[in-house]
């Protein structure tokens, strides 16, 4: 397997990591990786680009040494947790994380968990992030009762169950995002037990932050450009979103996410032109799955489990979703998440050789020649910005 191929393969979502490497020696590398936690898989290529500084691993090739040296326990990695940390929450989230890691082996008594001061309560490794607005802030679209039940009781149950599950396991001490990705088990078989709870906690935190009181309205011009490019029009996107929400059978979520440009497994240009640049996609996921495990960067989430809307809308899911889109959705949050997503995609794919970037741009330019002139400029700008200038989004 060529070096470049493996570099690309290493980039991507956790589920393809194992199948992409058939060399027996690389199998042993992955066992080592497995011990280090799950989140490294999403940030593989940065390690490949950093030059080796000696190191004690006797791998077969440079790429394997890179894996072992740099993937485990990377400290200043941009984790998915950052996508949900708005400005206000940054400090509390990072505090919570360091607290979790520090107290993982201790017997901290969390004030919420135990009411009896004499008894040593269960350790809390994961805490629920507080709501970014008071519980009646989303009235009359989502009632206070629903918010209190949904956040206060339902999500809290997930937190309790998760904390009860991870003690003494390999997931102890990980952050929520790491736990979620590493317990996903790459989607090939059933995920490990903590995945459901970890993912639901993450999903719900993301959902609460996708909303704001007095939200709705239209996205900004820059975001609209992206939307028009990828869905045809804003209404087209809304229509697609509604379709996904109404056809999600059973419990699940609907997401708008930013999908990076690289295809898994192969380092070549996809015949589908839209696969070759970062784009917005709408996806629906069952139960607790979220697009992070596929390597996408979620931008907004709507909970279509029935508990999210049953008290307010009973069975009228369409009303709930359209109200969410028109009155509650926080486009500012979506935009800030998009900026971070683009940055992360650039970093992840940043090792792509200049020759490849030039080839891609040429190909995109060619396919845009037939488009209308004003669209051609817009799109070219949009694409180059997604490749090179993340802040130009």
């Amino acid at each position: 397997m060529a070096f470049t191929t493996l570099v690309v393969a290493g980039v991507l979502s956790p589920r393809i990591l194992a199948p992409s490497c058939s060399l027996p020696s690389s199998g042993s590398v992955f066992f080592v990786l497995g011990a280090g936690g799950g989140e490294f898989r999403r940030h593989g290529p940065r390690r490949f680009v950093t030059p080796l500084r000696g190191g004690g691993c006797k791998g077969v090739g440079r790429r394997q040494n890179c894996h072992v040296l740099y993937c485990a326990n990377e400290v200043n990695v941009v984790t998915e947790d950052d996508t949900m940390n708005d400005v206000a929450d940054d400090e509390s989230a990072s505090d919570a994380e360091t607290e979790e890691n520090a107290d993982a082996n201790g017997d901290t008594v969390d004030a919420l968990e135990s009411s009896d001061p004499d008894e040593v309560g269960p350790v809390t490794w994961i805490e629920q992030q507080p709501l970014p607005y008071p519980s009646d802030a989303l009235e009359p679209y989502i009632s206070k009762e629903t918010v209190e039940q949904h956040w206060g009781i339902h999500q809290h149950i997930h937190v309790e169950r998760l904390n009860g599950m991870i003690g003494g396991s390999e997931w102890e001490g990980m952050s929520l995002g790491q736990m979620m990705l590493s317990s996903f088990n790459e989607g090939r078989e059933a995920p490990h037990p903590p995945f459901f709870h970890a993912a639901q906690i993450w999903n719900h935190d993301f959902y609460w932050r996708s909303m704001q009181p007095g939200g709705g309205s239209k996205p900004s011009e820059r975001l609209l450009k992206f939307i028009k490019r990828d869905f045809g029009s804003y209404d087209g996107m809304i229509q697609q979103f509604m379709d996904a929400a109404l056809t999600q059978f059973g419990s699940g979520w609907v997401w708008l996410s930013y999908k990076g440009s690289k295809l898994p497994h192969v380092n070549s240009r996809s015949p589908i032109p839209s696969d070759n640049y970062g784009r917005l996609v709408i996806s629906k996921t069952p139960n607790a799955i979220n697009p992070l495990v596929w390597g996408h960067s979620p931008l907004l989430a709507i909970d279509v489990w029935e508990h999210a809307y049953y008290l307010d809308y009973e069975d009228r899911r369409a009303d709930y979703v359209s109200t969410f889109l028109e009155k509650l959705l926080s486009w500012e949050t979506v935009e800030s998440r998009l900026k971070k997503a683009v940055i992360r995609a650039i970093e992840r794919d940043g090792h792509v050789s200049r020759k490849h970037v030039r080839k891609q741009l040429l190909a995109q330019g060619k396919s845009r020649i037939r488009a209308r002139p004003q669209q051609a400029n817009e799109n070219a700008r949009g694409q180059t910005s997604s490749q090179e200038k993340p802040l130009g989004v």
Binding site: F249, P286, E306
Partner: protein, 228 residues
């Protein structure tokens, strides 16, 4: 047109209808409120029926019975589009008939004997039923089924709309664990919902009837003929 032999006959088509539960909508109070039954039967179940009919109008499965729809539609784990609606229609019908006002408690006679044989005791069965229901993640159903190969009663959980019929077993009783079935009454307290179902709502008469029918397909053991 197929089926028309002369110019004078018109094509008759038939579709599925919604079966009414064998009790009034408020008869299951206080364990299942009237509003829940109204919504669950009147909206959810009705929507499944309507959706199925709409699909059948243009599908190759037109004319199939519900059981056939489920077995064929399941397609060995890759359900076809008609499967979800058909299975949900069937499951909900089965569910309404599995309940009865002021019932529950423990069964008698043959059913109790079979439960004791297969679970140890009725209490064990009840615990297993409740635990199984609580262990289901997401939407689904919990069933008491009569397994064909193992020839015994068993508690199974299925996700979304999967039916034991599709898996080859004989369902005896079920409980809807989709959130729409209990959210208005119990919110997140699924344990209370399942406990109330088993203690107060499950219709052992229906279970007995279904067991009797099931015995025609599964040999549960030699009859106990007393020595004279």
């Amino acid at each position: 047109m197929q089926g028309c032999r002369s110019r004078r006959c018109s094509k008759v088509v038939s579709y599925y209808g919604l079966i009414t539960p064998p009790y009034k909508l408020d008869a299951l109070e206080p364990y299942m409120s009237k509003r829940t039954v109204e919504l669950h039967w009147g909206k959810h179940h009705q929507n499944y029926v309507d959706g199925l009919n709409k699909q059948l109008a243009t599908s190759m499965f037109y004319g199939y019975t519900l059981e056939e729809l489920i077995k064929e539609g399941y397609n060995n784990g890759n359900p076809l589009p008609e499967y979800n609606n058909a299975a949900q229609v069937w499951n909900h019908h089965f569910f309404w008939e599995s309940m009865q006002p002021e019932s529950g408690g423990s069964p008698e006679g043959g059913v109790l004997q079979q439960i004791e044989k297969d679970f140890g005791s009725f209490t064990n069965f009840r615990e297993e039923f409740i635990c199984s229901a609580l262990s289901l993640l997401g939407s689904g159903w919990v069933w008491l089924v009569l397994k064909r190969e193992e020839r015994k009663l068993s508690v199974v959980c299925t996700r979304n709309a999967i039916s034991p019929l599709a898996l080859g077993d004989i369902p005896i009783m079920n409980l809807d664990l989709w959130e729409h079935a209990y959210y208005l009454d119990y919110k997140d307290d699924r344990r209370m919902y399942v406990t109330n179902f088993i203690d107060h709502l499950v219709s052992w008469h229906t279970v007995t009837l279904r067991m009797m029918r099931g015995e025609a397909f599964v040999n549960l053991g030699e009859p106990n003929i007393p020595v004279a």
